[in-house]
Each structure stands twice: as structure tokens, then as C-alpha cells.
């Protein structure tokens, strides 16, 4: 018993409702301000060596996935070929969309009090983390991550932190 007008109205309401509920598509989603993607690869390499093995954040079972040469690959076989731009992109998205609003606030504050982020707290061992303390506060790995968030990447710290050496005598 509906008139053409009421059908159109209903359709409009349904459409508006659908658009209203839908989030932005992945490629359209933005975080402002966000740490820079351009300076992310050294940070990703550090994260990969500390956190991205196949038994940790290189696992598809994890919501924070880190992609790279010796771990999870987007397309290909693990361990073959260097980390690709697509993999850096995927890891970047995994990092910045963990706590987007908090991350934006930290970035806007020039990187002050980065412990507001779960990522930093877990890496420092200040919050429950199955992998334990991977980047103690003040370590090269910690400086790498927090300097990137602050917009002043400490590239030498990233390079040092990306190298993981076995104990003496191994």
C-alpha cells in the first residue's frame, strides 16, 4: 500500500543509512596527522627483525601483522627476495591503524609521551606482552620507533636495532 513517493523516500532513507554506516574504504582511510610512510622502511626492518618472525607477528593469526623477507609475505614464499614496497605498506597500515586516534594525538604532540600507545608499552615490556620486552626504553629499537613517531627518524638507531646477534660464543 505504498505510493511511488513513499517508495522513493524509503529508498533514499535506506541508501543514506547504508552510506552512514559504511566506513571509508581502506585506501581512502586517513589518519591526520600520521607518522610518515616515506621514512617507515628502516622502522619496518627493525620491527621485522624484533617482532616479525613467523611464530610471532609474522603469523596470519595476529591482528598486528609484520611482513618481510624472513617472515610473512604478501605474495610469494617466505625467505625469498627482499621486503617489497607492498609489504612495507601493509606493515605501515598495521602499525598506524592499531590505535589511530591515540597515534594522531602523539604525533600532533611531537611524539611526547609515546607510552600512550600500546605498541610502545608492549615493546618496552611495560604492558603484558607474550613476546616479552623487545625494545627496552632507551634502546636502539625504542629510539627507532619513537623517533619515527616524533617525525625525526633516528636512522642509525634503526640500523643498529635491525641487526640481531646471537650471544657470544655461538
Amino acid at each position: 500500500m505504498s505510493s511511488p513517493l513513499s517508495r522513493a523516500t524509503t529508498a533514499w532513507i535506506v541508501c543514506a543509512g547504508l552510506f552512514g554506516c559504511a566506513g571509508p574504504a581502506d585506501e581512502q582511510a586517513t589518519i591526520t596527522p600520521a607518522p610518515r610512510r616515506e621514512s617507515f622502511p628502516p622502522v619496518a626492518d627493525m620491527l621485522h627483525s624484533h617482532c616479525g618472525s613467523l611464530d610471532c607477528h609474522g603469523s596470519r593469526a595476529r591482528n598486528l601483522r609484520i611482513y618481510g623477507i624472513n617472515g610473512l609475505r604478501i605474495d610469494g614464499i617466505s625467505g625469498t627476495g627482499p621486503t617489497t614496497a607492498d609489504e612495507y605498506d601493509a606493515t605501515y597500515r598495521a602499525i598506524v591503524y592499531l590505535e589511530p586516534e591515540k597515534l594522531s594525538r602523539v604525533v600532533a604532540d611531537g611524539g611526547r609521551n609515546p607510552e600512550r600507545l600500546s605498541l610502545v608499552r608492549k615493546a618496552r615490556g611495560a604492558e603484558e606482552h607474550k613476546g616479552g620486552t623487545m625494545a627496552p626504553q632507551g634502546s636502539e629499537a625504542d629510539r627507532c620507533l619513537t623517533s619515527w613517531i616524533a617525525g625525526a627518524l633516528d636512522a642509525p638507531a634503526c640500523a643498529l636495532a635491525a641487526e640481531m646477534s646471537p650471544p657470544e660464543g655461538f
Partner: protein, 169 residues
């Protein structure tokens, strides 16, 4: 009645078990024909699924796996030496059996990760390029075939390399 309640609750919880673990065990499938449960069984499988402390395997392992001769062959590497060194420095050495299997009981070595590993056999001495961060089953990351989530089986030499024999009787 009040005394019976904890027992009833315990029985209920025991009956429920851990469905994720049960599924993981079931997914391993049956034993291979002619191989009894023991040190030689289930090469290449994630040992700690059953031997990680939740059963049904009796022995609890901290690290265990299978070493092969070549990437594209299921020939086991017997008599190799596997060295494991943990973050704090404690280490252990264990050999592979005729199935290529090795295992370390948790009572003997309970590593603090990350864990560095190397495999030796004669002049072959290979260090794993990345440390292990938490999985005691080598097959967790070294399942075959290689994929985006696996580097493939652990092997020590290119195909065609002469290596000592050794197969299970």
C-alpha cells in the same frame, strides 16, 4: 551438596577441554603405517602440538623438529647435531635420529626466547638466519611446502650433494 559442587565443576571443565588444542591434535591425522608412536614418528609435524604440555604426548618438549637433507626431498638427515642457545646464554646440544627428528625435553632445557639455532654435520655448519621467538615446534615456521607463511622444511645442502646415509631400520 556444597562439597560436591567443586567436583562437578571440575568434571564439567575437564570434559570441555580445550577445543582449539583438540582440533590441532586431530588435524595431525593418524600415525603413518608401520611407525609406532615414539621418537621416530611424525617427522615434519609440529611436535609441540602433542608434546607441549597439553598432551596427549607424555613427554613435554621445549624445542623439537625434523632436519632433512635437501629442500625438495623428504630424506631425513640422521646424526646431525643441533645446537640451541637462548637469549641469556644457556645452551643445549641434541642429535637427530634416523627419522631426522630431534627433541629437547623441557625439564632439560627451558629456553628464554629468542633462541638461536645451528645444525652441524661434518663440515656442514649452518646457522639459522633469524632467531626463534616463541615457537618450540620447528614445523610451526618450517612446514612443507614453502608458502608465504612458511620457509619450507629445514635442510642442510643443495640437491645432489653427497651426504652420509642413514635411514630407519
Amino acid at each position: 551438596m556444597s562439597r560436591a559442587l567443586p567436583l562437578v565443576l571440575a568434571a564439567f571443565l575437564a570434559a570441555c577441554g580445550d577445543p582449539v588444542h583438540a582440533d590441532a591434535v586431530e588435524a595431525l591425522g593418524p600415525e603413518a603405517d608401520g611407525v609406532e608412536p615414539g621418537p621416530l614418528h611424525r617427522p615434519g609435524q609440529p611436535c609441540l602440538t602433542c608434546h607441549g604440555g597439553k598432551g596427549p604426548g607424555n613427554m613435554e618438549f621445549s624445542v623439537a623438529g625434523t632436519i632433512y637433507k635437501y629442500a625438495d626431498s623428504s630424506e631425513p638427515l640422521a646424526n646431525a647435531v643441533v645446537k640451541l642457545v637462548d637469549q641469556g646464554g644457556p645452551s643445549t646440544i641434541v642429535g637427530t635420529n634416523c627419522a631426522g627428528n630431534f627433541f629437547v625435553q623441557r625439564v632439560d632445557f627451558d629456553p628464554v626466547f629468542p633462541l638461536w639455532t645451528r645444525v652441524k654435520l661434518g663440515s656442514i655448519d649452518i646457522e639459522m638466519s633469524t632467531p626463534v621467538f616463541g615457537a618450540g615446534s620447528c614445523a610451526h615456521c618450517h612446514s612443507d611446502p614453502p608458502t608465504e607463511s612458511s620457509v619450507g622444511r629445514i635442510y642442510v645442502a643443495p640437491a645432489g650433494t653427497e651426504l652420509p646415509g642413514g635411514s630407519c631400520p
